[in-house]
């Protein structure tokens, strides 16, 4: 298998992990077993996994967003972190204090997002900036993704501009799924193509069909490579559609049929299966085996999380400061 082939196989496995895990979360949500909301990345796995798989955990940093289950998996987040959080286990990375899509492990280079859209852009820039000061930036990349809606935030603008001024190896993937919650792009921006913004920031600009695994792996992988080699910030606009509601509470009925049946309405997993099979990168049988294996992994992660204790308010350490005041004079 060529390096490219290996890469595609790994991206695809992460896509599958994302999809299967999220399908399970969706069922659990419908069964009333989930704590909090469920926001899925269905239809965005090729983009997300291509980004995550292009990064090296322990070296790079990655601030995933709400539709990045596949990318998290590709970056190396264990499935159990996810199931623990959704099922409210106190063993989860957030210990019940924060939830679901907010989970993160900053110590492994994967910060925990806050809800406020765009806010992770300058944060990732700061991680890279610190690496430069520490002398460890060489060959590193920091990545984050945002939606079409998040491009309207001041945080996105200030963060990307700052990263450009500092010439940091930041890769920002705009998952342009045509809607922000129910709001269509026509009410979000007026430019012809979001990628036109790149020039105005002085960063690299790339477009890709987000439903096409081969294209995503190549364009997103290429953007990561450019950043890694010192090309400065790169912005990738991936065009696609969210194959579900904004969250599982939403049926997404505001998405017109013309969009659903349009060019971005296709399922990137189906496209990927075809592409891998046709390209001789993985056989259909092989992929079916992966699917079964992952389904079992997911079942195990769910089962384990379900057995674990919930957070206990009486044992909770109710403090938001790491310093214990009063501290004594030296």
């Amino acid at each position: 298998m060529s390096a490219d082939g290996e890469f595609l196989r790994s991206v695809f496995k992460s896509m599958l992990r994302g999809r299967i895990l999220e399908n399970k979360l969706s069922s659990l949500y419908k069964a009333g077993k989930i704590v909090g909301g469920v926001y899925l990345g269905k239809g965005q796995e090729a983009v997300s996994a291509s980004l995550g798989a292009s990064l090296v955990q322990g070296k790079d940093c990655f601030a995933p967003l709400i539709r990045d289950q596949a990318g998290r998996t590709a970056f190396g987040e264990p499935l159990i972190d996810c199931t623990r959080t959704y099922l409210g286990s106190v063993e989860g990375p957030m210990k019940g204090r924060d939830g679901n899509i907010h989970r993160g492990r900053p110590e492994m280079g994967m910060p925990a997002m806050i809800s406020h859209l765009g806010a992770q852009v300058p944060l990732i820039a700061g991680m890279l900036f610190a690496k430069r000061l520490k002398g460890t930036l060489d060959g590193c990349v920091g990545a984050t993704s945002v939606g079409d809606g998040a491009t309207s935030t001041g945080a996105f603008h200030e963060g990307l501009n700052l990263a450009a001024v500092e010439h940091l190896p930041l890769v920002i993937v705009v998952a342009n799924n045509q809607f922000a919650y129910s709001t269509p792009n026509t009410r979000q921006f007026a430019c012809e193509d979001l990628v036109d913004r790149a020039k105005g920031y002085g960063v690299g600009g790339h477009s890709v069909d987000g439903t096409d695994l081969l294209a995503c792996a190549s364009v997103i992988g290429g953007a990561v490579r450019l950043a890694r080699e010192g090309g400065g910030p790169q912005m990738v606009v991936a065009n696609l559609l969210r194959l579900g509601g904004h969250g599982e509470h939403d049926d997404g009925s505001y998405v017109p049929d013309s969009e659903r049946n349009g060019k971005y309405g296709r399922d990137c997993i189906e496209v990927a299966i075809r592409q891998l099979a046709e390209g001789g990168i993985a056989t259909v049988e092989e992929m079916a085996v992966w699917q079964d294996e992952i389904s079992e992994e997911v079942q195990r992660a769910v089962a384990q999380a379900q057995q674990e204790p919930l957070p206990d308010p009486y044992k909770e350490n109710w403090t938001a400061l790491s310093t214990r005041f009063p501290i004594s004079a030296e």
Partner: protein, 321 residues
């Protein structure tokens, strides 16, 4: 037939749109979709070109509202969650709040802040920011606790010439129901006795009014008669009504759902002790949420905010002096 708290908010906006051509609604997903909480359901259809979806740009949303107000309009801005108003903070506290003092021209905007905790919502969809905004001169901050107040106070907020932060509690949206919306109502700036009593006064607002009443009901069994004052607006704060109640009971518990440092409860205690020290038979007490972000897990959340149990405990302590 019954009306929920969120229905009242929707109805108020419908009334305002119908009766005042200066009113328009601007917010994320509030047009055809009807808003994240359906507070504007159907209004875009009924009032074409008066209800607008906008980009995810809270700062610009308030900037636009202030500009529109300068031109004589009365915009209502929906923040999807109160917590996201942190992005609009500058426009609210520096542009809108200072405008009248600086120029003599008032800015009649109303910013709807879906506030307060609900189970599973976590640190960024649960905040109570009334005590933040109330610190700024030039802002009015209202916190309706009843279905009728949700309706009338929204109408009155839009009628006021000053910028109003209308803090609507998400927990009350569908849970709080009423047979109908009362015709009579108090003006903004007047508090209300939510439950009469004589042994102690709980001063509170918004969702905590209901928790306080629950706690009071429980203590009734032990013979205690607890008065609950619903502030309705935290700025202005109706000290007269509060002092009159404390004069009757001699005891004060200030109760709120916000973080424990400062905020409404501190202002209430400070005002009462400054002006009504001689009325107090016991040290005034405060009960707020804990000093951490609002936790996401319902088990932690329920212990983070005051509960009927913790309110009873605070009241028992207060009554024991």
């Amino acid at each position: 037939m019954s009306v929920t708290y969120i229905d009242a908010i929707r109805e108020a906006q419908e009334t305002l749109l119908r009766e005042d051509p200066r009113v328009f609604l601007y917010g994320q997903d509030i047009s055809a979709f009807g808003g994240a909480f359906k507070a504007t359901k159907g209004l875009a259809d009924a009032f074409p070109n008066r209800v607008f979806d906008c980009p995810i740009s809270e700062d610009a949303m308030i900037g636009l509202a202030v500009g529109a107000a300068i031109e004589g309009m009365r915009p209502i801005i929906e923040m999807q969650f109160a917590d996201f108003s942190s992005i609009a903070f500058n426009q609210i506290v520096n542009q809108a709040a200072t405008h009248f003092y600086r120029t003599g021209m008032p800015i009649p905007i109303t910013v709807r802040l879906p506030s307060g905790g609900t189970p599973g919502s976590g640190p960024f969809h649960s905040q109570s920011m009334e005590g933040i905004y109330a610190q700024y001169p030039g802002l009015v901050v209202v916190t309706p606790a009843t279905v009728s107040d949700a309706y009338h106070m929204l109408i009155d907020s839009v009628k006021l010439d000053d910028p109003v932060l209308y803090c609507e509690h998400k927990f009350l949206y569908r849970w709080l129901k009423s047979k109908k919306i009362n015709g009579e109502h108090l003006p903004i700036g007047k508090a209300r006795i939510a439950r009469p009593g004589k042994h102690a006064t709980v001063v509170t607002y918004s969702a905590m009014v209901h928790e306080a009443v629950r706690a009071a009901d429980r203590l009734q069994a032990d013979g205690w008669e607890i008065e609950v004052v619903d502030l309705r607006s935290v700025k202005p704060l109706d000290l007269d009504t509060v002092l009159a109640s404390v004069a009757r009971t001699g005891r004060l518990l200030a109760l709120g759902e916000a973080f424990p440092w400062g905020g409404v409860t501190a202002e209430v205690v400070a005002k009462v002790t400054e002006e009504g020290f001689h009325l107090l038979d016991a040290p005034p007490q405060r009960l707020n949420a804990r000093d951490t972000p609002v936790p996401y897990h319902p088990k932690l959340w329920a212990a983070h905010r005051p509960t009927p149990e913790s309110i009873c405990e605070a009241l028992r302590k207060l009554l024991s002096f």
